[in-house]
Symmetry: C2
Subunit: 442 residues, 2 copies
């Protein structure tokens, strides 16, 4: 599904500018050429650097004048006065649009620039200093049944061809991989992640598994093939479900895996295992208790489950720009918030693992492949899209590297079940061997 701009128009400066509808809701706006930067512009630039915690960054204004510390590691170029003001007003949100539309640029790899920004911002966040605009301005979009549909469509229905360009070729996993050996390839690490989850869940042949939010269906097929279970896998992304069904049919797994194009709130039946990888980010914090009720309803008495999600060390909204342009409705919970799934619903947490650095590494692989295919992406969409997605991937690397984001895998069971392993050694007993064995999915 290549993106087709409906029409273009010229601004007063004669540039050809795409207008509605852009796939990300972004377009270049006509910008009047700015005058030479004056003393007030330079004062504003200095003020802004102070406000974001004095990172090692200089600002190059539109007339070439440079403001900032002597030991700066990065130069942020701003093309016009309005860009400067927009950054001052709401840097976290406006930088994304300015970068995507080429009104801001950075002279170093984006992720290293953003790590320094995150590290500078964090002491403020820790002291509870909010961004300048009130939080409700950036409130995530709602996740009612129809709201979720729109939010998920925005991101996951961009087209399977787009994601195939830069996700792993083995299982097309658009979630954090697992690198017990950091030198593993992305393909190895995604397979290692699938094994890691299956071992944590102690899958045994014949188990009935339900998966909430199955992406392109890789985990469900993997479980069926390698662990002999049957899976009902739910997803509301139409394109992903079509792809998943086709793959299952090709691989002769249609009897073992059923892909259901339905919201997780409509899960029915009784299962030995509940699993959800990378869906909770889209559930919305007001729906955690509902998710817990769904789990409690569908899990057998000795059932067990795993929820894998991006999270935080303390509550906070998703980066506002990412929430608006990339992931509408997304919210990464702190562990305290995460517990709202389990505590009211008779579920008992057995194991939590934080895989933060694994997600940074996963994203580095994705960004590398994305850049290798940037030309193709540009042809499918446009330059704005390429820059926005580059920023999203690089910004996510920075967020995981600077500990602004975490990745939690939470294993749980019904509170009263005493069918529990006496140690977690089974997850690790043949880890090295498992990785070698699992180098390929076939």
């Amino acid at each position: 599904m290549a993106y087709q701009p409906e029409h273009t128009e010229s601004n007063m400066l004669g540039d050809s500018v795409k207008t509605v509808p852009h796939v990300l809701g972004l377009h270049k706006k006509p910008v009047h050429t700015s005058n030479e930067a004056n003393a007030f512009d330079r004062w504003i630039a200095e003020k802004m650097l102070q406000l974001i915690g004095a990172p090692p960054i200089s600002i190059e204004l539109w007339d070439g004048s440079v403001i900032g510390p002597k030991n700066s590691r990065h130069i942020l170029s701003l093309n016009d006065r309005s860009a400067l003001w927009q950054l001052l007003i709401d840097p976290e949100y406006n930088f994304g649009d300015l970068y995507s539309t080429e009104r801001a640029a950075v002279d170093t790899p984006l992720q290293s620039f953003l790590v320094d920004v995150y590290l500078a911002l964090q002491p403020q966040k820790q002291r509870g200093i909010r961004r300048h605009f009130p939080e409700w301005l950036h409130r995530p979009r709602g996740n009612t049944l129809t709201g979720s549909q729109g939010n998920i469509h925005h991101h996951y229905d961009l087209g399977n061809e787009f994601y195939k360009l830069w996700l792993d070729t083995e299982a097309m996993q658009y979630t954090c991989a697992y690198f017990p050996e950091p030198a593993m390839t992305l393909e190895q690490a995604q397979i290692a992640k699938l094994h890691h989850i299956c071992r944590k869940l102690q899958l045994k042949p014949g188990d009935r598994v339900v998966e909430a939010g199955c992406g392109w269906g890789g985990l469900a097929r993997f479980m069926a093939r390698h662990y002999g279970v049957t899976v009902h896998a739910y997803n509301i992304s139409h394109q992903q479900v079509l792809y998943a069904r086709e793959r299952a049919a090709q691989e002769g797994l249609s009897d073992n895996v059923t892909y259901v194009e339905e919201d997780y709130r409509n899960i029915s039946g009784k299962y030995d295992v509940f699993v959800s990888v990378g869906m909770l980010e889209h559930v919305g914090r007001d729906q955690y208790q509902v998710l817990g009720e769904v789990i409690a309803r569908c899990l057998k008495s000795n059932g067990r489950g795993l929820v894998h999600s991006i999270g935080r060390n303390r509550p906070g909204l998703m980066n506002a720009w990412i929430e608006k342009r990339i992931f509408p409705g997304a919210y990464p919970p702190s562990l305290k918030e995460f517990m709202d799934i389990f505590e009211p619903n008779g579920l008992s947490v057995q194991d939590v693992e934080n895989l933060r650095l694994h997600y940074a590494k996963t994203l580095e692989h994705w960004l590398l492949r994305f850049e290798q295919h940037a030309e193709q992406v540009r042809e499918m969409y446009d330059e704005i899209f390429v820059r926005a997605w580059r920023l999203y991937l690089a910004g996510s690397i920075a967020a995981f590297m600077s500990s602004d984001l975490q990745l939690f895998q939470v294993v749980f069971n019904r509170a009263h079940s005493n069918v529990l392993p006496w140690s977690r050694a089974h997850v690790y007993s043949d880890e090295a061997q498992g990785i070698k064995l699992s180098g390929s999915l076939e």
Copy 2:
């Protein structure tokens, strides 16, 4: 320190009854012989069984009449009418005193009776039905600096000789052991627990460790001897600190381990590692943020830590009788509450493990040894004390078996540290070997 009753007096029935001060604040009260049980007594007994969720238990009243279901597995005998009324009014609290003072008895092993009580009570608790008396009546005693002193003295200064009778002989650990092989002896499992903690903390020679709440100092000496670290270990129980220092001197570890008779809130210095095993239960939920501030203050930038504590699947008070008679000031947190230590203080949770069944097994070992030494305990204290402690140990087994209580080990580090292991395999790599090696502490 054998318990010495100050004086005895006779009640109207001529029994010799101990009065103040009993070490647990318990004494037999004069009870008038009850009349024959009447229809109203029997109705009350039936009502009470209904109120606690219809467990498989019959009640034998003081005149020998029996009330209860046909398929009952246990008979609870009540010696007088007042006991029946006290159970009706507040069963969770009053059963303990009635059992301890021989006004109530059970014909089956206490822990199996109590498991059935817990399982019957839990659906009510889950629906949020409170016990009949308001919660503030059973509010835990406060944990101010002086409050904690009194609370800890009450329990841990009962006398080292008493605890030596039934704790493991290797390290005198009064916390949950680790049974990766359920058939391990208590000594093996306590040593396995110490290794498990040290591995999770990735101790390396030369690390500076601070321990909050060190008991008889076994973990600190173990870390110093087996992992080559230096330890500052804090405890406010005078008797425990004296014992710990003596053992360290005997073992030639006085240069490596410093026992400090101080509250954890007075910890000073900078450390690579923070560890606390079995103290959080006594910290009190209003002090979690303070504990987190202490950790944030004393941990170096790449520091890591572990807190090991009894917990819950959802918030709830400690059993009121145990809080009053055995563990004043005790409160086991849910994971959500637990997070109040970390989330406000720039700390990042890396790993949570729930060892619930390991504590049930530990307590089974303790209860067995306690019963083997019941005669000695009776001589040191009295029959009331023996029965109260039997009930506490058996009740704790039941609480862990029925999932009323959990045991959480939480590993964390400073949020910004990227010095993290790529997997938890190092905790398990030589688990079997480690257990064999660690069969003895010497």
